[in-house]
């Protein structure tokens, strides 16, 4: 009997597939559907500060009766925040009541400030862990890269201080030395790091000459970026690692585990193929393990990580040069 269970960020998972924060994890109905199809844990859709601000603006635009009523609206963003947080708390409570898998709350933040008390409320509501989805867009010219990196650690430390549940951090790959950040982050006492988050990128419509949204889904080729950094860092970090971005099939899942990931997060492939795709990926994993005579994941996890291969530099420049020298024009 093959055992697919893993430990991720101090949580027991029946298999290594976690539903990443997305529209699929924003309602109880969807969460139940995911669990039914084999998901091992869910990260509830992030509460975005920006979303609340947008909701505030949309509400104003839709209801001009209140536009001139400045005193009524002056602090209305706090009311919206409360409403959103209360809805989120309800989702955590409902999910905990109906699901038998870990429920991970998620906050998308660019600052620590007022999110810390909300994080405490999510813990009180029963969340098994909290994922901090941090992405500070480096748009402030007055800030150095070190300032920005320090902001990440400020957010982590201030939330870590207040919570007793495991905290994981989802980061972007856009650091000068991302490996150093991964390792430094892992030493802050957090329980896991997710590599990497996907940020919204604006695009242009050259016919309409307007701004629009670029493709929001990852592509199956995107997995190589997290693969590289997980392989390079999995034996050097003091916490769990989860791979995210571009994991669309069982093969990518297996590769991440071989690189040393404890689990993977998926979202785009659920949007593209439906929840039943989770089961398909699990079957692929099980079939592959069977063919290799692996009885559990620890038997092969990290087998192709930087520490376990003869020449770890292959994950870096050497492999890149070899690839192009073999492809003649």
């Amino acid at each position: 009997m093959i055992d697919l269970s893993v430990q991720y960020a101090g949580l027991f998972l029946k298999n290594p597939i976690i539903a990443a924060a997305s529209g699929h994890t924003s309602s109880l109905e969807h969460l139940i559907e995911l669990e039914k199809n084999g998901i091992a844990a869910v990260v509830l859709k992030s509460l975005f500060e920006e979303e609340i601000i947008n909701e505030f603006h949309n509400t104003l635009d839709a209801d001009d009766q209140f536009q001139s009523n400045i005193e009524f609206l002056d602090y209305y963003d706090y009311e919206l925040k409360k409403e959103n947080v209360n809805r989120y708390i309800k989702l955590i409570k409902d999910a905990k009541q109906k699901l038998n898998i870990p429920v991970i709350a998620s906050i998308n933040c660019v600052s620590a400030g007022e999110w810390t008390p909300y994080a405490e409320k999510f813990e009180e509501a029963g969340a098994d862990a909290l994922e901090l989805n941090i992405f500070i867009l480096p748009s402030d010219n007055a800030k150095t890269s070190i300032d920005i990196e320090n902001d990440y650690f400020k957010i982590i430390n201030s939330i870590k201080e207040k919570l007793s549940i495991p905290i994981t951090v989802k980061i972007s790959p856009f650091f000068t030395n991302v490996s150093e950040i991964i390792q430094k982050t892992s030493k802050t006492g957090i329980s896991g790091i997710v590599l990497f988050n996907r940020s919204y990128s604006p695009d242009f419509d050259i016919e309409k000459m307007t701004l629009n949204t670029s493709n929001v889904f990852s592509s199956p080729n995107d997995y190589t970026l997290p693969l590289r950094f997980i392989a390079m860092n999995s034996k050097k970090v003091s916490c769990s690692l989860a791979a995210s971005t571009g994991i669309h099939d069982g093969s990518a899942l297996i590769k991440m585990l071989l690189a040393g990931a404890d689990a993977v997060q998926i979202a785009s492939c659920i949007y593209l193929h439906g929840s039943t795709h989770i089961n398909k990926m699990l079957v692929e994993l099980e079939t592959w393990m069977n063919s290799k005579n692996y009885l559990n994941i620890s038997m092969f996890k990290g087998k192709l990580s930087g520490e376990n291969i003869e020449n770890p530099a292959e994950f870096e420049r050497v492999q890149f040069m070899k690839y192009f020298s073999n492809h003649e024009i």
């Binding site: 601000i53 009523n69 009524f72 002056d74 602090y75 209305y76 600052s111 400030g113």
Partner: protein
């Protein structure tokens, strides 16, 4: 402006007495006159007493100011008034020293002129539409000062004019709440001959005029006189009666009430939901002001006093925040602070209230926002943690949004905090009346006739607008009365045809 109304103004303006006084002073001379200043108590004396700040105009000052009005052929000021006071006419009555006549003109459309003359934001309404503002870029005619003068003159003369009422039709109608919307509605319904009863949850009549606005801005005695006028018109008031709890609307229907005007206000306080906000001595502005204004909490011989506090912080930048902080100063606060996350330019409070507060040595901590409170072992607030802010991009209301400055937090000693960050509509009626449609804001949905989704229920004021000025609420009350009359007559006609 309706065509017949324009015609009416034209005819009135052409009257001999108006034409005569226009000739007395040339327009050029009128426009060169300087706007009079309101007489006020000295700031450093008034911030230690509870007496009214503004002392009103003398007869001479009022006449002088009235002379500035050029009696425009197209009186744009009226369009800025939610109850369409015939402004040039009452001002010209003052110019000819017919002060009682001026008060009578006011009362044709405004049942609470002494109140409106004190608390209306004229600078955003009638005075903002004045010819001086629009065309001359000069200070507008002080319409608010003159309104207050005429109303006060009438009251002090002892010759208060009680509006005439039509023959009683014995049709019972009920107002819920006794604030400005309801009082304006009740006046018009009584004028039309209806049997009007106003139900009030508190022990005093007047709603926000009494519990929300401090006496140094609007003395309760002024409100009481206006209420007495309504009583003289036959309006009945029932206090300590919570519609939805003491009796339901169905109970009242059984008692023969044919239609209802819900004006239950916005009495639900909002908080920011930040750590430590539940500490002792952190009040909502509603509680703080109601206890002091209405329940004697600042008096030694009352059972439920509020602590006075040396360091009092009021969070917010609206009129309620100004009322709260100025009240705290009068109760002896050494440091009475406004903590506001934008700048003075973005403050929703009336310009006059902000200026008065500054004169009274209120400390303005703009571009600051509380992020938490620290309490002592007994749970009493001792410090607020403020975060500095900067202004970012404008939001949908056109005002620049406050953006927190990370890492700028610092502590300030406080022993009382008043949270004045807005209020939400009173949920009692919406929650207790089945089928009554509400908006996402919690306000009652009404059509242009101020009629709700239940045909015999009309609504206006803060329960419809979320938060409104006194005069806007009164405007709602008047329009609701006009349409309720049409509704009742139509319904009765149908019933008699059946």
């Amino acid at each position: 402006m309706a065509e017949n109304q324009t015609e009416y103004y034209k005819i009135e303006r052409a009257q001999e007495w108006r034409a005569e006084i226009r000739k007395n002073i040339k327009v050029k001379d009128r426009t060169e006159m300087i706007r009079v200043k309101m007489l006020e108590q000295d700031p450093l004396i008034r911030n230690k007493n509870g007496l009214e700040v503004n002392l009103g105009l003398t007869e001479e000052l009022a006449v002088t100011e009235a002379q500035r009005c050029i009696d425009c052929p197209d009186p744009t000021c009226i369009t800025g008034c939610p109850v369409n006071i015939y402004i040039p006419k009452f001002i010209k009555k003052i110019e000819i020293r017919d002060f009682l006549g001026a008060a009578q003109v006011l009362k044709e459309t405004n049942s609470l002129p002494a109140v409106c003359g004190r608390v209306c934001p004229q600078e955003k309404q009638c005075e903002n539409s004045c010819f001086y503002t629009i065309k001359l870029n000069k200070p507008p005619v002080a319409i608010g000062f003159l309104e207050r003068f005429a109303a006060d003159y009438e009251r002090n003369s002892g010759k208060i004019n009680i509006p005439e009422t039509a023959q009683k039709n014995n049709i019972k109608v009920a107002g819920i709440g006794s604030g400005p919307a309801s009082l304006a509605w009740a006046t018009d319904m009584a004028r039309m001959g209806y049997d009007v009863t106003v139900f009030e949850a508190l022990h005093e009549i007047g709603g926000v005029l009494k519990y929300g606005i401090p006496e140094f801005r609007l003395p309760n005695s002024i409100v009481d006189i206006e209420i007495n006028n309504l009583k003289k018109m036959g309006v009945k008031f029932v206090t300590n009666f919570v519609v939805g709890k003491t009796a339901s609307l169905d109970d009242l229907r059984e008692q023969g009430f044919q239609a209802f005007f819900v004006a239950s206000g916005a009495g639900l306080p909002r908080f920011m939901d930040i750590p430590g906000e539940n500490s002792i001595n952190i009040f909502s502005s509603n509680e703080y002001l109601t206890r002091i204004n209405l329940m004697g909490a600042a008096k030694d011989d009352y059972d439920t006093p509020v602590p006075f506090g040396k360091n009092v912080a009021v969070i917010g930048g609206g009129n309620t925040a100004m009322d709260s902080v100025r009240t705290a100063k009068r109760l002896g606060a050494e440091r009475a602070m406004i903590v506001y996350r934008r700048t003075r330019n973005e403050m929703p409070a009336r310009v006059e209230e902000v200026e008065h507060a500054i004169e009274e040595q209120i400390e303005f901590m703009n571009l600051n926002n509380p992020v938490s409170y620290i309490a002592d072992q007994k749970g009493r607030v001792t410090k607020m943690v403020l975060q500095k802010m900067v202004l970012g991009e404008p939001d949908s209301s056109g005002r620049r949004s406050p953006v927190p400055l990370e890492g700028s937090e610092y502590e300030v000693d406080v022993d009382i905090v008043v949270v004045a960050v807005g209020v939400s509509p009173n949920p009692l009626i919406p929650a207790s009346v089945k089928g009554l449609e509400t908006t996402k804001w919690g306000t009652i949905k009404v059509n242009e006739q101020f009629q709700s989704s239940i045909e015999d229920i009309f609504a206006g004021g803060d329960i419809v607008r979320g938060g409104a000025t006194v005069i806007l609420a009164m405007g709602d009350g008047r329009k609701a009365a006009e349409n309720m009359d049409i509704y009742i007559k139509t319904t009765l006609k149908h019933k008699s045809n059946d």
